[in-house]
């Protein structure tokens, strides 16, 4: 019996200490909260099933467990967990109490009850030590700061990945690293049609003031990303990341006025050249104005 007691105290102790790895004060991300709920729901389900099984066994007095060797270990375990005196022998533990006909039995406190109770007390002590002796005690302020940090980090990573860049938000970049990367991309993907220096070949000249789909970086980005399939310009959005499209379009804009040899004749409409990066380049209405001027 002694071994059993130790065994069950160990199990309940481990259950509480492992199951409560973060001791349940944390609320950092929605995902973790949902996981926590699911864990709890699973624990609850297991518990309910266990209780139902246990009840079924305890109350199935018609089921003769005595003769079944298969159920003997389970029966022993249940007996060790409940220490319940069978109904047939309850006269042995019937106290002399009698209140208006109500009698009281003197069943032992179920060991499983005591183990879990002790476990919750250990949990409580561990919790207080964890947050208020080892930890600073500023539980929720620290959690909030961590949550905000995590969100800021996520945002930073997201913007570094370029996922935040699209035809609306793209801006001209002129740092040498980006432009040289842009040149690389151009050479690999664009030169075949637009010429090594952007002078135009199958595709139009990219160095003059005439554009078919506009000359703002946003326009170029859109053309590269979605392509102009009818005219043979492929859709690059699936092959180049938004950052790469930003780099290559920025590079293209730096080719303006380079007058490469063998330049192809102008195609499209005349657009007023604006130095890329200048703040004035964003409004769509300006483009309309330019068109009217022509």
């Amino acid at each position: 019996m002694k071994i059993n007691k130790i065994y069950f105290s160990m199990i309940s102790l481990l259950f509480f200490l492992f199951g409560s790895s973060n001791l349940f004060a944390e609320s950092n991300s929605g995902g973790r909260q949902i996981e926590a709920i699911i864990e709890l729901m699973v624990a609850l389900t297991i518990l309910v099933v266990a209780v139902v099984l246990w009840l079924a066994l305890v109350y199935s007095e018609k089921n003769d467990l005595e003769g079944s060797t298969l159920l003997q270990p389970l029966k022993n375990m249940i007996h060790n967990l409940t220490k319940s005196t069978p109904v047939s022998e309850e006269s042995k533990i019937l106290l002399d109490h009698d209140y208006d006909g109500i009698r009281e039995l003197d069943n032992k406190i179920p060991p499983w009850f005591s183990f879990i109770f002790a476990g919750t007390i250990l949990f409580a002590i561990a919790y207080m030590i964890n947050y208020h002796v080892i930890g600073s005690g500023n539980v929720q302020e620290e959690e909030y700061a961590a949550e905000v940090r995590e969100a800021a980090l996520q945002k930073k990573m997201l913007s570094a990945s370029g996922a935040l860049i699209d035809e609306e938000t793209v801006t001209f970049v002129d740092d040498p690293a980006s432009l040289s990367e842009g040149k690389n991309i151009f050479t690999k993907n664009c030169a075949a049609c637009h010429g090594k220096k952007g002078e135009g070949l199958v595709g139009p000249n990219l160095t003059d003031d005439y554009w078919i789909h506009g000359n703002r970086i946003n326009d170029l980005f859109k053309t590269v990303k979605y392509g102009v399939v009818a005219k043979g310009m492929p859709t690059w959005g699936k092959q180049l990341s938004p950052t790469q499209i930003q780099e290559v379009t920025s590079y293209i804009l730096t080719l303006h006025g380079t007058n490469p040899p063998n330049a192809k004749a102008p195609q499209g409409k005349l657009y007023e050249y604006k130095k890329p990066g200048a703040k004035t380049e964003k409004a769509g209405s300006e483009q309309e104005e330019v068109k009217k001027n022509i």
């Binding site: 004060a25 406190i109 409580a124």
Partner: protein, 708 residues
């Protein structure tokens, strides 16, 4: 042996039982009304008396103190006489108790509908009624302990332990939480402010659940369940263990209502860990109840009374497991302020309190009338329709709570709120509100079956007003504690028992409250937080009168999603002048802690006139009478002076200046509204309310500007 003849008083249990049934119907009908109002806001008829904000406290008070309260008294008055083998201590006290309690209920209904309220949940009643409650409660305790003292049974039975704990703790809680400074006959301010008021309120609120809805019903369970099943109680040892641990631990757990609030972290953590430790002591009661039915389960299949009791005890076990779960901070972060909490509460009230009450009534009424229950079939039908009602009530509210909470917290990949419009999250859960009200309707249908069944039972029986009984006189000679039998000895000393219980239940509250009250560092002050202006103070009282706090919290939790939605999270120092605190416990509408300056005066005016003008689809009732109702300006000096007594630093003699200041600010608002084409008298409730709303949460921003 000298056998004495005496008689049991059956009149008191009968009266309380009838009152239980009557108020039960009232409480449930009010509940159904407010449940439907949540999706048919027109059901408030544009009247002040029938808005959600006033009806919801009426529902909770009627359900807890009228329905459950009378059920406790009916059950106690019947059982305590029999386990003590004595008549009630005094028939006169019984009468005072019964009629006093009913009078309190009627006055509560009248005042709550008139908007006379302290705003503190389950303690909304104003100070004269608070005093009446204290007096009548003492009458109850006096009568009950008196009966125990003159008992003929040597020991007091476990049911009575729970009755004693109920009496002493509710007395301590009620008095502790009702310490308030009267301003006028029906208006008072609590002496505590802000964080301290919140801690006291939820020490009370949580333990009102513990010692009004739980311990007395455990007492009832210990008498009526073994009686109905005719089986011995499973374990006397377990009774002792779970009784003392339950009452000791319960009292500590109040702060779990304030997790992630401005309450100091250490108090929050105590709330969490004591709630976890409360799990097994609570289950001790369930186990002793269910295991008492060992060998009687075949009876359960046939007897509707036992069926009600089994579901009641199971519901008790479920909600006392759910409770500790909800006290874990990561679960609470999701569940708090949502419909999950009413779902949790209603497992307890509809399941545990309701079904136990029905079981007791079905058992007791035939006994009082010396007959058999009119229809067992009808009681069975009541059982099934009631159970279905609970399921249809609770499950949609679980889903609704989780759904809405996750919507509140959902960010887009770009880091902005997915559902920035609060209303969108409300409209999402309307279907669940509809199902919930159907659940409520089923439950009420069951109750009406009970009414019919019991009225017929009373008709076929004949009431036994005084039930003859006899028992040997009590001889307590040589009554000394023996080794290992101390508890048995304590059971012979009802007054000593009461004193020990009082000490045990006082510890937790004191340990949590005293440091919060005495140690300054627990509530860091903020220099830019100033007292309300006279007009804002009056507006705050309009807010309290209309019960805005029943649907709107004023507490932004330190979560990114809440800071994003509502602004900087709430700090303890912001509430130092809030007598009472108005944090609220449920967000049926959005949080208002930083509503100040978010909208124009005109927006608020039009929104009160008809919320759907500004937010199509809103479920808030209209408050158009505020536009015409005159502000009670004359009460301002008395309110200022009361606030100063409570420590709010209004300068000496400000009473003479306050009305002029009030008028000045009111004129500014009415002029501003006039500029927008709205003509409104300055001295009206709407202007005061707008002034208050525009102030909310703005002080801390002024501090930031000053720092820069």
């Amino acid at each position: 042996m000298n056998v004495e003849k005496f008689s049991y008083d059956n009149q008191s249990p009968k009266l309380f039982a009838i009152a239980t049934i009557f108020w039960g119907v009232v409480a449930l009908l009010v509940g159904l009304t407010i449940a439907v109002q949540l999706y048919v806001p027109a059901l408030s008829f544009g009247l002040p008396y029938t808005t959600f904000g006033r009806l919801r406290p009426l529902h909770t008070n009627a359900a807890i103190f009228a329905f459950v309260g009378n059920a406790i008294f009916a059950g106690v008055y019947y059982s305590i006489q029999r386990i003590s083998k004595a008549r009630m201590y005094s028939d006169i006290l019984s009468k005072i108790h019964f009629w006093g309690w009913q009078l309190i209920i009627v006055s509560a209904a009248v005042t709550l509908l008139s908007g006379i309220t302290t705003s503190k949940e389950y303690a909304e009643l104003e100070w004269p009624i608070d005093i009446a409650i204290a007096v009548v409660w003492v009458v109850f305790g006096w009568n009950m302990i008196g009966t125990l003292v003159k008992r003929r049974e040597k020991h007091i039975y476990v049911a009575a332990w729970f009755y004693i704990a109920t009496f002493v703790t509710v007395a301590v809680l009620h008095i502790g939480n009702s310490i308030e400074l009267p301003v006028s006959f029906l208006k008072s301010y609590p002496v505590y402010a802000g964080v301290q008021d919140a801690l006291v309120q939820w020490w009370y609120g949580h333990n009102a659940v513990a010692f009004f809805l739980t311990t007395p019903f455990l007492g009832l369970m210990y008498y009526y369940l073994p009686k109905a099943a005719n089986r011995p109680v499973y374990s006397y040892k377990l009774s002792i263990l779970h009784f003392w641990t339950l009452i000791f631990i319960y009292i500590w757990a109040g702060p779990h209502h304030l997790l992630y609030s401005a309450l100091p972290n250490w108090a929050q953590s105590l709330g969490t860990v004591f709630s976890i430790m409360l799990w097994m002591p609570s289950w001790g009661g369930m186990l002793n109840g269910l295991l008492t039915l060992r060998g009687a389960w075949d009876k359960v299949r046939e007897d509707p009374i036992l069926k009600f009791m089994v579901v009641a005890v199971t519901a008790y076990g479920m909600s006392t497991f759910e409770g500790p779960t909800l006290s874990l901070k990561n679960v609470n972060a999701i569940a708090h302020f949502t419909d999950w909490i009413p779902a949790h509460v209603h497992v307890g009230t509809l399941g545990w309190n309701g079904f136990m009450t029905f079981g007791v009534l079905y058992w007791m009424i035939p006994k009082l009338f010396n007959t058999k229950l009119y229809s067992k079939k009808l009681a069975n039908a009541h059982f099934w329709i009631g159970t279905l009602g609970i399921v249809a009530w609770v499950i949609p509210m679980w889903w609704s709570g989780i759904t809405q909470s996750l919507m509140w917290k959902q960010f887009t990949p770009l880091g902005i709120l997915q559902y920035p419009n609060f209303l969108e999250t409300v409209l999402q859960i309307i279907p669940m509100y509809i199902i919930r009200s159907i659940g409520g309707l089923l439950y009420i249908t069951g109750l009406l079956m009970l009414v019919y069944n019991l009225v017929r039972t009373m008709k076929i029986g004949s009431f036994v007003k005084n039930e003859e009984a006899s028992a040997p006189a009590l001889v307590l000679a040589n009554n000394k504690p023996q080794r290992g039998m101390y508890h048995r000895w304590l059971e012979t000393k009802p007054i000593m028992f009461s004193i020990v219980a009082t000490v045990v239940i006082s510890i937790g509250g004191l340990v949590e409250f005293l440091p919060t009250y005495l140690i300054k560092s627990n509530i860091p002050t903020i220099a830019s937080v100033k007292p309300y202006t006279p007009l804002e103070l009056q507006g705050r009282d309009v807010y309290i009168r209309e019960g805005c706090n029943n649907c709107h919290s004023q507490l932004i939790r330190p979560f990114r999603s809440e800071v994003e939605r509502y602004g900087e999270y709430s700090k303890a120092g912001e509430f130092v002048y809030d007598h009472p605190f108005l944090w609220g416990s449920k967000r049926t509408g959005p949080d208002l802690a930083r509503i100040g300056g978010k909208y124009s005066n005109m927006w608020h005016y039009l929104h009160m006139q008809d919320p759907r003008q500004m937010s199509p689809g809103s479920i808030m009732p209209t408050y158009k009478w505020l536009i015409d109702s005159k502000l009670d300006v004359a009460s301002t000096p008395a309110k200022i002076s009361a606030m100063r007594k409570l420590g709010v630093p209004y300068p000496e003699g400000y009473e003479n200046q306050c009305i002029a200041d009030l008028d000045k600010q009111a004129n500014e608002i009415s002029d501003d509204l006039l500029n927008s084409g709205i003509v409104v008298e300055p001295e009206t409730d709407i202007v005061a309310l707008i002034a208050y709303l525009q102030r909310l949460g703005t002080d801390i921003k002024k501090g930031k500007i000053a720092e820069k």
